[in-house]
Amino acid sequence: MLDIDNIRRQFPIFSTTTKTPLVYLDNAATTQKPLVVLERLQRFYSYENANIHRGIYQLADDATRHFEKARSRVAQFINAKYPDEVVFCSGTTEAINMVAQGLRKYLSSDHQLVVTAMEHHANFVPWQTVCNQTGARLRVIAVKPDGTLDRDQLDAAIRQKPAVLALTHISNTLGTINPVHEIVALAKEHGVITVVDAAQSIAYDHLDVKDLDCDFLAFSGHKAFGPMGIGVLYGKEEQLARLEPYQQGGSMIIKVSEESTTFKPPPHGLEAGTPPVAEAVALGTALDFISGIGLSKIKVHNHSILLYAKEKLSSLQGVQQIGPENETSSIVSFLMKDIHPHDVATILGESGVAVRAGHHCAQPLMQALNIHGTVRASFTIYNNREDVDQLIDALKTVEKVML
């Protein structure tokens, strides 16, 4: 069992000295930051700050070392084979764009790319764009009314040997956990390049890329107790090597002449310009923080809060939960009678309960489910049962106000 009170004390935002106590249930959008992460950021900028690479003085050499140590830390966290399979970037969005544009030169109207209707726009629009650019066809796998993937359709699509399958591990809207192991295994059999969006899983469950065997995987630091502006593209060594460099600039170059340029091999050849060094280092600390608590414990806690919330929501008349009954992470989406999600969220917000409302950057999913939006509550380690109780109380207020 987690000591939630102790965990909460490590997050200044929940300190009782702030004016209204915050019931923060928008963790799928971004998580709050623990003191250790804040302190690491502060220490770097206060005493360790330098640009990395090429530095022939101690400060720069140390900064480089901290940055590369963070790379190793990430590699270890997701069980990559080599640290050099970890490319630092600004977030999940950039990571996926990097793959889509990096593969652009290999794609033509002969190719099909497969995504699903439950993708976040970040794992949908880059693929749609590269299809428009190259003539490749985009195949969108349906989502069933219960919020799970249409596996028959997906499996059939994979058997047609598309060039790429881009799939989210966990739906940011419904919390649906996709059986990525099975799906990646099938894709591998058919020679399909697999791209896994792990934005919602990095702080929820153990990720083991060796075991999962996907070609690429992407996540953001800010959803895993780390800073904004830092994210990770994992890629198998030989797959990263195939990507055209997404961006060009300093430190990713071997030789530049007026005529041509030779790029470094990955990961450095994919990291153009001054990277967010402090943020990468603090991401390493955030992963230490997660490991210190233990992902298994985190998962048990988060899921127990989810189950409590689902049970409580079920007891509220007129609340309809959207998404699968089981196999969900710590996210619950719902509708309340025919009240617009934004009206619900405004009234919850007035009661100090922060939830998200709307399409959650998943418009194709909204279209598939034939709804306009949902109210979404998402939980993590610092949430407790009282948070859920306050959500429920506030929902009762919504009813009073609106009906």
């Binding site: 617009h340 934004h342 009206d343 405004t346 007035e350 709307g358 418009q363 306009h372 207020t397 609106m402």
Partner: protein, 141 residues
């Protein structure tokens, strides 16, 4: 429940959004506008008919929150009988009333004006109004 919340969800808004007068499709309208807010997915069709340069009929249909529905309902109620110039004046006057509590305002507009005190809701009460304004301005230009 805070005072501003009470004012925002004043019964006039709630009644208004449930009031289905002028809430109807009109596929034969001379002009069909779309009012769309990508942030929340609110989306209304606004149907306008003209007689000479005067709006003779207005209705709306679509999906939206209580605020956008109530404000759209108010809009289409006010449009008929107005020329382009009068429509623009009417919209300007509405915008002024939303901002300025010294204006002489209806209870409904008082309620709608509370939207600005709530995170992310300011847009809701001007969505359809903005759409009509842009249409009329472009038409006159």
């Amino acid at each position: 429940m805070s005072e501003s919340l009470k004012k925002l969800y004043n019964h006039l808004i709630l009644d208004r959004q449930k009031d289905l007068s002028n809430f109807e499709k009109n596929e034969n309208a001379q002009i069909t506008l779309e009012a769309y807010n990508p942030v929340c997915g609110d989306q209304f069709k606004l149907y306008l008919d003209f007689d000479n340069n005067t709006i003779s009929k207005a209705s709306y249909y679509g999906y939206g929150c209580s605020l956008s529905r109530a404000s759209t309902s108010l809009l289409v109620e006010l449009l008929p009988g107005k020329s382009g110039k009068e429509v623009l004046e009417c919209i300007q006057s509405y915008y002024r009333q939303l901002e300025d509590d010294k204006e002489d305002r209806s209870e409904l507009i008082k309620a709608l004006s509370m939207a600005k005190e709530f995170p992310g809701r300011k847009q809701c009460v001007v969505l359809s109004w903005d759409t009509v304004k842009h249409f009329i301005q472009n038409k006159r230009a």
